[in-house]
Symmetry: C2
Subunit: 355 residues, 2 copies
Amino acid sequence: MTRSRTQADGSRAPTSADVARLADVSQTTVSQVLNGKAGITRISAETREKVIAAAARLGYTPNHAARSLRQRRTKLIALVLPTLDNPYFSDVVNAAQEAARERGYAVTVMPIREGDGFRASSLLQGAACDGIIVAGHENCASPELRLLQARGLAVAVLQEQSPDPAISSISVDLEAGGHLATRHLVALGHRRIGHVTERLRPAANGMSRIDGYRRALAEAGLAFDPALVVVTENSMAGGATGAERLLATEGEPATAAFVYNDQLAVGALARLRERGLLVPRDFAVVGFDGLAVGGFTAPPLTSVDSPRGTLGRLAAEVLIRAIEAGSPMAETHRLPVRLLVRGSCGGQEPGDPPP
Amino acid sequence: MTRSRTQADGSRAPTSADVARLADVSQTTVSQVLNGKAGITRISAETREKVIAAAARLGYTPNHAARSLRQRRTKLIALVLPTLDNPYFSDVVNAAQEAARERGYAVTVMPIREGDGFRASSLLQGAACDGIIVAGHENCASPELRLLQARGLAVAVLQEQSPDPAISSISVDLEAGGHLATRHLVALGHRRIGHVTERLRPAANGMSRIDGYRRALAEAGLAFDPALVVVTENSMAGGATGAERLLATEGEPATAAFVYNDQLAVGALARLRERGLLVPRDFAVVGFDGLAVGGFTAPPLTSVDSPRGTLGRLAAEVLIRAIEAGSPMAETHRLPVRLLVRGSCGGQEPGDPPP
DNA sequence: CTGAAAGCGCTAACAG
DNA sequence: CTGTTAGCGCTTTCAG
């Protein structure tokens, strides 16, 4: 009973060897009992009891690093988010976490600011997790992703279409959302409809919000007017200045706007109010995401609702599939969206519109 | 040159042995070059070059699990949050991350729902990280925390006073905040001031928002009326029903409320509006947190601003100090707050009030 | 049904 | 200035 290497505070996390000693069995047996697959019963009931009791008495938990090293598997998934200040990801993370847990994986969130270029990637490269789900424009577009994938890390991209077809992507149908939102405004009689958006990406492939916006305009016989597209920063403040700029646009003024996301839309609503415009009487707004906050704005925000739970769950499932396949099988999923009609467009009272 | 164990896709993450072979040196040398402390130069410039070149050529990144196992240190800090749907923590996390990075640590976020009882704690117990910063009522109060600390994990509690004096705590001065908010309302002439709050915790130790609320009332010679304290759920919807209940209270009606946090306050503002009350003319509201969203509500929300960046940075510093000391030194920090006057109380235009 | 031995990839002692 | 050796804690053959 050599009790070596004590910590500064006198204790030391118990190891499987400690458990083995206490239960008077081998480490192998401890491992077998504690990780025993249901099927294979190579352990007697009596031994099993002893081991379990010993483990419980010591409060034993397997050392994560040792196990990961040995198994070349961490059972850990990282969700890479650009920021935590948009509650959009809350539901996504919860659902991903739940789906992962069912399969024996844990989910952890790594905030990596857009443009930081995966500076934290020593962790990712170093196989600190088995796979990553990546969100955020730049992060998703990063060429480093395919390097990570080549290193054996499973990669899935969330809410963006990856430029790289070899990388899995789970997103909602942004184009359909843009179309739905814009069509809604058209149906309410608007003919000068603006679009407030985050910086436009060059790699537009006909799959983004603005494409749906343009399609709805075209279908209604309305010309696309670049002067009505305002690019701004992705924040509430950005939404406010976006609205401001839209109002200041030359030519016939806009009477409505389809806004990139609810975060921006909250800012836009505030600025419209400050400028003395009454929404929806003087101006209509549609957001995107279907955030809870939209139920509490003045007026409540009509928005394209995205199935965040399904998105998160699916992302986890796809990723785990790839991890367990051992090879990078790319899957692409595009989930449908629906219009969540609240009060910011007028015309109808809260309730679901006809499809 | 035995190239063994290829992955399904034919590649394999390079190891330090691979680098050593390529550079024609020993693994030790590779390790020394790549982790070399600035001071100790036991490596010739030439060798260093060779190693660095080889590592670069292979795209070598040290294996996290192996390194952690060997060093008994992960250089990883987990921030345990109850949910991601309150943007409050965004700044906290960013600041913590920055402070940690300066010291060579990475920060990861683990969402653990309140009441889940650290179910994910196999990771925490298993030494998957060196320390944790815990937020959320129940999580902070969990007795498991001291177990984790006993296991050698550094623990710091955020924004709550830990019931356990042996655990570090970094929070803002909630009592002062409650006092500041309530005094502001008193100064504006309100005499029936309600308080909408999340469930009250038994362990009230004179340090929470409500204590400051009561102190300000007392100082103004106003009686504390339990009928004006409404307990509700921690969400925007909860804030709405809280406001509702406050309006329905019997006795002389409230004309103002100090609300637990901005999330709740957003909901409260919305419900007041729906009920036809004009804020601040008919009712005044003060929130807590100083979130960005408060700048975009109708009217903009006056709130007790909390130094979230400092909080996060300090938490990381305290934790890292504890990690590197090797023993659980408890530190308690309570940061000051200030009133952020916007429009939801009237009386003065946006701008800082006199202290 | 159980144990002994090997080794995951890395770094820290200790020799030279 | 560099290499050899050992071992972190675990799981996994392989023998019994």
